[in-house]
Symmetry: C2
Subunit: 186 residues, 2 copies
Amino acid sequence: MKKFEEKTLNTKEIYNGKIIRLQVDEVELPDGKISKREIVKHQGAVAIIPVTDEGKIIMVEQFRKPLEKSIIEIPAGKLEAGESPDVTAIRELEEETGYTTKRENLVFVDSFYTSPGFADEIMYIYFTDKLEKLEEPVEVDDDEFLELVEMNLEEAFEAMKEQRIHDAKTNYAMMYLKASGRLSNA
Amino acid sequence: MKKFEEKTLNTKEIYNGKIIRLQVDEVELPDGKISKREIVKHQGAVAIIPVTDEGKIIMVEQFRKPLEKSIIEIPAGKLEAGESPDVTAIRELEEETGYTTKRENLVFVDSFYTSPGFADEIMYIYFTDKLEKLEEPVEVDDDEFLELVEMNLEEAFEAMKEQRIHDAKTNYAMMYLKASGRLSNA
């Protein structure tokens, strides 16, 4: 699938940071014209939808500097180089919520590019309803400040309306839970 | 909602482009430590889920340079400064598909931040199943090369599995159509 491919004439790295890199590519379009593409490079991310025995979805509230406010999201984190997404899913679950699960209890839900017009970030999403409380909390990244939030699906849809839940992976996750009927007995 | 607010100590603009700006903020964390936040600024975007009388979802296939491949997406485009998202929705529908609709036939579905960890991009999503074919095609952006694709919901879920549909707004849209039962008679 390389329809309408854009040929790279040159690539200029603008910035190489901790989370993202930015490059600007000069490209030749299908009609021979020249254009520029601004491209954010990202390692990829993994999110998990953790559901308790009581049918509550465990989420985290955290301040998001780009938005200048806090929102409530399903647990997620960056994929490390060479890491399998299910490993990331369990690590982020442990670090952010204090729960864990086994690999065989992870259900792969979906993956998608978050913003394919300007970024290569891919998001993997897992689900689990087999949670165990960790006896010892694990260390979190030292620049992350989180608060746990538990909601049933109805409360989560209410929070979406109020835009306290307001990001692609979490809104997708709620729509997935509704469409799949996974929480219908909750 | 400013829980765990991060105070900006200074902001450095790294890049100011056509689609995005990049800045790096030095912030003071809730525990007094200093950290950096890489922030991509974006005008915001609007997508529309156009459904024909026959229950087909109209989408566009286009090459996405950050992914180095083509994917199939619901029609979408950037919000212009000061523009109301429903105006953008109709413009992008017209430019990308050759169909139009009236403002009163747009159903607002949802909005969400695409990648709140590093970007402020917000995505608005509309739905319409009242489409009219334009008699005259409208001009498209001269660096966009698109191909129309029509699928029913079952075909779209198949394309998601094959990752020909593979981005946040479109995967969300399909999950929404499934959850809402809007295409159940299709």
